[in-house]
């Protein structure tokens, strides 16, 4: 448990808390909250991890057991091989990091152009990008699917290719807006100085703008990965081939014919990477969420 932090004045005053009665209430509430939250938010994860160690009979036994009677780690390896989790995990990573790369390259370039190079019609383009934030994503699912099925002009079918997942992620008005606002705050004089030294726009972007933008790039990167990792409907539509499916879709479609303890073990394995990722990057994720997450 963390030590008490210096606390700004909130609803309840320090004097109130320091009375014996206040203390009693405070500690009761604290214990209840910590216990209750652990149970509600961590309990299911505990159930997942231990459920994967139980036998089929024990998983569906009533009343349920708290601790597996005869822990069987072999269920995990069974889940890994039976559901082909290696393949699914690889696909998910492949989609997530491909999307991350494309978003970093193209959204940063676009935001830089709109913020610093100021092309003709730049404001109109930005406006049209931001307008897409108002369109509920579910509305466009059908025409987007048809676009992937038969790409205009080129007449390519992107179904079952990673491009079907990668390309649409670049059209992220929120990222571009976030990046543009950050780039706007970089002083013009710095860029002018670079231009006098003979740096072209690409050079300026690489050696001045990008190094100054690390925090915002981190936020964009984290959300790019998390979004692909969590997406369900779109990959279900565009990656029907089981060999190309990411975790979410693969586990769901394979879950029916497999014993439950194996499915639970698979879910535990599928959750582990995002949980670890979150624990490592929690500070950036939370600050990104509260700083940029609201203004759209």
């Amino acid at each position: 448990m963390a030590a008490a932090e210096p606390q700004p004045r909130t609803l309840i005053s320090a004097t109130q808390l320091n009375r014996p009665m206040g203390r009693l209430v405070y500690w009761t509430v604290l214990v209840l909250v910590v216990g209750g939250f652990t149970l509600v938010f961590l309990g299911p994860l505990y159930w997942l991890v231990t459920g994967g160690l139980k036998s089929t009979a024990e998983v569906i036994q009533n009343p349920p057991t708290l601790i597996p009677a005869h822990p069987r780690p072999s269920t995990y390896s069974e889940a890994w091989s039976k559901l082909g989790l290696g393949r699914l995990l690889f696909n998910t990573l492949y989609y997530a990091f491909g999307a991350l790369l494309l978003q970093l390259v193209f959204d940063v370039a676009a935001a830089y152009a709109l913020s610093k190079l100021r092309p003709v019609l730049g404001n109109l383009i930005l406006g049209m990008m931001l307008a897409t934030l108002m369109i509920p994503s579910a509305v466009l699912i059908v025409p987007q699917y048809l676009t992937v099925l038969d790409l205009p002009v080129l007449h390519l079918n992107l179904i079952n290719t990673p491009w079907a997942i990668w390309l649409p992620t670049v059209a992220n008005a929120f990222n571009i807006f976030l990046l543009k606002r950050f780039f706007d705050s970089i002083p013009e004089e710095l860029l002018a100085a670079a231009a006098i030294d003979g740096a072209g726009p690409l050079r300026t972007l690489r050696s001045i703008v990008l190094p100054m933008s690390r925090p915002i790039l981190g936020v964009v990167a984290i959300f790019a990965v998390v979004n692909v990792w969590k997406d369900f409907l779109w990959p279900m539509l565009v990656e029907p081939d089981p060999r190309h499916q990411p975790l979410n879709i693969g586990i769901n479609s394979l879950a029916t014919g497999v014993p439950q303890n194996v499915v639970i073990a698979a879910l535990a394995i599928a959750s582990a990477p995002t949980i670890v990722f979150f624990l490592i990057f929690q500070r950036s994720i939370m600050s990104g969420l509260t700083s940029g997450g609201l203004k759209g």
Binding site: P119, L146, I176, K230, T274, K295
Partner: protein, 308 residues
């Protein structure tokens, strides 16, 4: 940049205009080269589909032949009883989700803001489910809801409370979906509220206390007014998001549930398009939804401008 152009213009007055125009053109070309990737993606995946959505809603495709049918698609979907079902369910989901998913994070945030210990731990806990892959969260709940060996019924029985059929009865299926969705998604809202609460100046509470305000009155007269803008922004954002709910009902109940009790609008769009291959109806329904949500979105934009 401007300085360079100017000195050049002084040096060679005759060609100044042309060279400036040339420079401008080159700059524009460079800028558009930087924009290229994003423009392609926006063009292909949001701008063009938007146009196509509108066009498709007036068309019907039969055996590979596309014809204009005017408002026929709209007429058809309105006469489909599933349309009213889906809207009714979606509104029910939205209302339930707002009561749970809007009020609960606020209460939790107020509570967490008062605690002086274990704050980092509690913050991480609340956000943990948001990071789970949806299939893990949803299947987890599916097992907990199971009428034979589910954890929830077991808990209710242990507390001598009546058990529930959860997902298997039309009366409780939607509520079960909402509970699962709330657990999975409320972390984000909680943290945003928490940040907003931390921005409230403490003197306001002190002033309220001098006026003799108790706990509830302080919440009512200080906390809520001070976070009103964030509250209303998140309310709108959640309205727009919850009305588009798809994954939870789809995974928990196969998309429609007992007697269509969890069939939502997006599920119906999905069924029209991908089960029946009726893109025209799907597009028409999508547009109806766009119109309904556009009002909320416009309000959101106005409010968030006001905040800036």
């Amino acid at each position: 940049m401007a300085a360079i152009t100017a000195s050049r213009a002084r040096g060679r007055p005759r060609t100044a205009a042309r060279s400036r125009r040339g420079l401008k053109l080159r700059q524009n070309l460079t800028a558009h080269a930087f924009l290229f990737g994003a423009l392609v993606s926006f063009g292909l995946f949001t701008w063009y589909p938007m146009v196509r959505e509108v066009v498709m809603s007036f068309q019907r495709t039969k055996r590979g032949r596309t014809s204009w049918v005017g408002l026929d698609n709209l007429r058809r979907i309105v006469h489909d009883p599933a349309f009213w079902h889906a809207w009714g369910n979606t509104l029910r989901f939205t209302l339930l989700a707002l009561v749970l998913g809007f009020a609960l994070p606020f209460l939790i945030a107020v509570l967490l803001n008062e605690l002086r210990h274990a704050r980092a731990y509690l913050r991480v806990l609340v956000y943990l489910p948001v990071m789970l892959p949806p299939v893990a969260g949803v299947l987890l709940f599916k097992y907990c809801y199971d009428p034979n060996y589910g954890l929830f019924d077991h808990l209710l029985r242990a507390l001598h409370l009546p058990t529930s059929a959860w997902l298997n009865s039309p009366g409780s299926a939607m509520l079960s979906v909402v509970i699962a969705a709330t657990w999975m998604n409320m972390g984000g809202a909680t943290l945003i509220y928490l940040a907003a609460l931390q921005g409230i100046p403490g003197e306001l509470y002190e002033a309220a206390e001098l006026d003799g305000a108790g706990l509830l009155r302080k919440v009512w007269h200080v906390t809520i007014p001070q976070t009103r803008l964030i509250l209303s922004l998140l309310l709108l954002l959640q309205l727009v998001a919850t009305m588009q709910v798809f994954v939870e009902p789809y995974l928990l109940t196969g998309g429609d549930g007992p007697q269509d009790s969890t069939l939502t609008v997006v599920n119906l769009v999905y069924q029209y398009a991908f089960n029946f291959g009726n893109y025209g109806s799907a597009a028409a329904l999508g547009l109806v939804m766009l119109l309904v949500l556009a009002g909320f979105s416009a309000l959101y934009v106005r409010l968030s401008r006001a905040e800036d």
